[in-house]
């Protein structure tokens, strides 16, 4: 650390655990160092979001605790108003979302009255409120549990048209509530849930209002607030309309067609009177534009296809989309955008594509990734989504893969012949797959796969790497220069060029046949970190949650047994034995996989997770 105040001291100050001496020293430092003072101020602004388990008020429950008739499973989110848990309603035996509202923020009588009003609302596009009450000093609202994700997380890879469709559904929910005479007051993409079937539900109705009656509270989220709401004036449904339009415009970035941008502009008018009269009117305007444009788009698509898969990049702002967001992972993937112009070609079609230029400064990772200026890459590497979406049509001819604008592309790396399991060609097609916690994307014989970060599990028995390191990947990923990323290549760490696959290290090893798994609709895959019941421990040592036949590890039957509480959702697992882990119950009492939980289940076809 430099002379700046240590994070520990600042954290202790915020936690109220700093002693007088340290506090005085910190004051002197803050007096001189504007950066640290602004840091403290910045943290002070968000203090309400910090879960201070030793703070005033009742301690927040931990997984396993019970609160009234609810058994807490896990925290699924933290907001300005409190913490949201996944919980089990022991009376009705169902999974619920339990929102604990910070007691100092609410008048609990008021909250309960509001919850009753909310509980009367039923609509496919709103999350149902089941119950509200107080228990152990907590004020809670019990809501329908929606397994899935939030709208903000959901729009990342979607076309503008899909995004608009999702928002239209959310808008229906809002309109319904408006008809019932209520105002949401805190509409934002984080408050909209999308389940695995794509059904959209608006949640947290009215909470902002109840909370807003307390002077301590920040009612609503400033970024989405209508001007009149920000000024603290009386608001009506048109403030929700404003928030809706902010959210949608944000989701679309620059990708909104002109007509849609104009529609949203009206919803974003500073004066409520200048907006659409109702949500319905706004939704109708959007729907009209959508159906009109769809016909035009179809014609355009044909033209584009006819012109041999010309690809134009989207105008959406740069978003560094995470492929790997897990501990130990150091790789970043940037989709559909680059800070410097990138000429791209599709070897599959042999056609030339347009130049990709970022519309806004990309993240630092994007900058790193595309550090080489004017780098020529295969389009399949940088914009697979675009390729899939648009170049579906005539996969066309062939040939050399050289761009016809005179620039030269990198020669494709030498790869083993044949295709990967999933049918992808052996090209390290970018991006790497999403890999669950503590696994890492690895390149094995030219195909991406998920590998256990520390044991290189998919490669079977340990071997010796050419750098002399023994048997397994060294403990941690190496620091890789430039735009390269750490990857496991044939059982050894390598720095991979995400575009061309790493140059292959010479490795002395005897390759083991891949382990065969048991059970499930597919073969067991080592390295996916799923605990497969009955799986042979020797074949997948890193995945086994617990060995059968004895305490500890190493003895017993040598088969893996199910371990409750590992948070893994095992398809087909008996619900009774592992109630905590089960993602969703089927009619016959076994667990069925749920898309959107971030885990790739054996045999599951779940585009979002696998």
């Amino acid at each position: 650390m430099t002379a700046c105040a240590g994070e520990n001291t600042i954290a202790a100050l915020l936690a109220g655990a700093v002693d007088a001496d340290a506090a005085a020293r910190l004051e002197i430092h803050l007096d001189r160092c504007a950066v640290c003072r602004r840091l403290v101020a910045d943290l002070g602004r968000g203090l309400s979001a910090i879960d201070d388990r030793r703070g005033t008020g009742p301690a927040l429950p931990r997984p396993g605790d019970t609160l009234g008739r609810y058994e807490i499973r896990r925290a699924v989110g933290v907001g300005g108003m409190g913490v949201v848990y996944e919980a089990h309603d022991t009376t009705l035996d169902r999974r619920v979302a339990l929102k604990l509202v910070r007691p100092e923020l609410v008048d609990s009588a008021h909250l309960l009255a509001e919850a009753r009003a909310m509980a009367r609302l039923q609509h496919p596009n709103i999350a149902t409120v089941h119950d509200a009450g107080t228990a152990d000093g907590h004020v809670y609202v019990c809501m329908e549990f929606v397994a899935g994700t939030t709208l903000s997380a959901c729009v990342a890879d979607r076309s503008w048209r899909e995004i608009v469709q999702l928002y239209l559904a959310a808008g229906e929910g809002l309109a319904y509530v408006h008809r019932a005479g209520l105002v949401h007051r805190d509409f934002k993409p984080d408050n909209v849930l999308v389940d695995r079937d794509g059904r959209v539900r608006v949640s947290d109705f009215g909470l902002a209002r109840i909370v807003g009656t307390s002077p301590r509270a920040i009612a609503g989220t400033p970024a989405y607030m209508a001007p009149e709401q920000r000024r603290g004036e009386h608001i009506d449904a048109r403030a929700d309309q404003y928030a809706f339009c902010v959210s949608l415009r944000e989701a679309l970035g620059g990708a909104a067609p002109h007509w849609l941008a104009r529609t949203l502009d009206r919803g974003l008018a500073p004066h409520p009177a200048d907006r659409y009269a109702t949500m319905e009117a706004l939704l109708a305007a959007i729907s009209r534009g959508l159906s009109r444009k769809r016909r035009g788009a179809a014609v355009l698509a044909v033209m584009v296809a006819g012109a041999a898969a010309l690809v134009a990049t989207t105008n959406r702002p740069a978003t560094a989309s995470r492929i790997i967001e897990r501990p130990g992972a150091t790789r970043f993937v940037t989709r559909d955008v680059a800070p410097t112009p990138v000429a791209a070609s599709t070897p599959g079609t042999g056609s030339i594509t347009s130049t990709m230029i970022a519309t806004t400064p990309a993240s630092t990772f994007a900058a790193r990734m595309f550090a080489a200026p004017q780098r020529v890459v295969r389009l399949a590497d940088v914009a697979p989504l675009v390729v899939r979406a648009i170049a579906k049509g005539p996969s066309a001819d062939s040939s050399n893969g050289l761009p016809s604008d005179g620039s030269t592309s990198l020669p494709p790396p030498a790869m083993p012949a044949g295709a990967c399991d999933d049918g992808a060609p052996r090209t390290c097609a970018w991006p790497p797959p999403y890999c669950p916690a503590t696994t890492i994307a690895a390149i094995v014989d030219g195909c991406w796969t998920c590998a256990d970060e520390q044991s290189c599990t998919p490669l079977g028995a340990p071997r010796t790497c050419n750098d002399g390191s023994k048997l397994r990947c060294s403990q941690r990923a190496p620091t890789c220069p430039g735009h390269t990323i750490p990857a496991i290549h044939d059982g050894c760490w390598a720095c991979a060029d995400p575009f061309t696959c790493p140059s292959r290290p010479t490795i002395t090893h005897t390759k083991q046949p891949p382990p065969t798994g048991s059970g499930g609709s597919g073969a067991a895959r080592c390295g996916n970190l799923m605990c497969e019941v009955g799986e042979d421990h020797a074949s997948c040592p890193s995945d086994c949650c617990q060995l059968g036949g004895g305490s500890g590890s190493g003895n017993g039957s040598g088969a893996c047994v199910a371990t409750c509480g590992n948070g893994m959702c095992e398809a087909g697992e008996d619900h009774a034995s592992c109630a905590n882990d089960c993602c969703e119950l089927s009619a016959n009492g076994t667990c069925v996989p749920v898309c959107g939980n971030g885990f790739c289940e054996q045999g599951e076809t779940c585009a979002a997770d696998c």
Binding site: G6, N8, I50, R74, P327, A437, T438
Partner: protein, 305 residues
């Protein structure tokens, strides 16, 4: 004579090796009374295990990790006070323990992510945090000392990253010089303009000197209020005092500042009380602007930390 049931033993006993490891890690701060220490180690281990039973990290590892961070005059007390559960997770993460990483991922990082949501690219911030905390020969999480909950500590680190990403963090940069230009007061009032012209320099000098005479805490309070635009509640939250206390302290700092300025101007101008009053009344009406400028431009005295 005590009977066995009256003796309180920790239900999870720390091993002899764990106690030794803790003492060894303390180095020169080895406490005199080892019996208390043994109990404290046992209790700490019990707390840690109860909170995170899934971690495959033993008591020796935890106590070594903890001891290295408690080289203080009162390590036994520290062991009781510190967030040992969170130190356990940190220790596990530093060792690559899968369960610890899972706890960090599912329990802690969502809280941190929420805290950095207002930055332009919160995902980047959290991802950089992961990288900083978990990757490398000496992962950043080893810097955690357990005085605050891990979530709060990570939020501080994340906020630093966020500010750096936003290009604001030049450590130890001079205090907000940039504020000067944008806050130059354009005052339409002719009387005020006159007074400013004639007394502005003295006022500023007196004001600056008065500010320098405040305590660092008072100056920081004023900065939080004026420059950072924090409300009373937020200031109270930072300092863990009641909002009434924060308000009183802030008011006190303001009035001390005004009085000290007044006194210095009286000396500098050599004018009578009533004349000073009228000058001061007008000048002080723009005190917020001046405060902003001076707080923002002056490097306060006492350069030693």
């Amino acid at each position: 004579m005590p009977i066995a049931s009256e003796l309180r033993y920790p239900s999870v006993m720390a091993s002899r090796a764990a106690i030794d490891a803790f003492v060894a890690a303390l180095g020169a701060h080895r406490p005199a009374r080892l019996d208390e220490l043994a109990t404290a180690v046992g209790r700490a281990w019990e707390r840690a295990r109860a909170a995170h039973p899934a971690l495959a990290v033993g008591d020796v590892e935890l106590m070594t990790f903890a001891g290295e961070r408690m080289r203080t005059a009162d390590p036994v007390g520290e062991l009781e006070r510190r967030h040992i559960e969170d130190l356990y997770v940190a220790c596990g993460c530093a060792r690559g323990d899968r369960a610890a990483l899972a706890v960090l991922e599912t329990d802690t990082l969502p809280i941190v992510a929420r805290g950095v949501a207002r930055f332009a690219s919160p995902d980047d911030v959290v991802q950089m945090l992961r990288e900083q905390m978990l990757v490398g020969d000496e992962p950043g999480i080893t810097a955690y000392d357990g005085r605050a909950p891990l979530a709060i500590w990570l939020r501080v680190c994340a906020a630093r990253i966020g500010m750096r990403l936003a290009g604001r963090d030049q450590r130890n940069q001079p205090i907000e010089d940039e504020q000067l230009d944008q806050l130059a007061p354009g005052v339409p009032d002719p009387e005020l303009a006159y007074l400013q012209q004639h007394y502005g320099a003295q006022f500023r000098a007196a004001f600056g000197a008065a500010l320098a005479s405040l305590s660092p805490r008072e100056r920081n309070l004023l900065r939080h209020s004026v420059l950072d635009a924090l409300g009373i509640d937020q200031i109270a939250a930072i300092y863990h005092v009641h909002r009434a206390t924060a308000a009183r302290q802030l008011k006190q700092a303001r009035s001390t500042l005004v009085e000290a300025t007044r006194e210095r101007m009286r000396v500098a101008l050599g004018v009578g009380e009533s004349e000073l009053d009228s000058i001061f009344r007008v000048l002080v009406s723009m005190a917020d602007v001046t405060l902003r400028e001076i707080l923002g431009s002056r490097r306060p005295p006492d350069p030693k930390i």
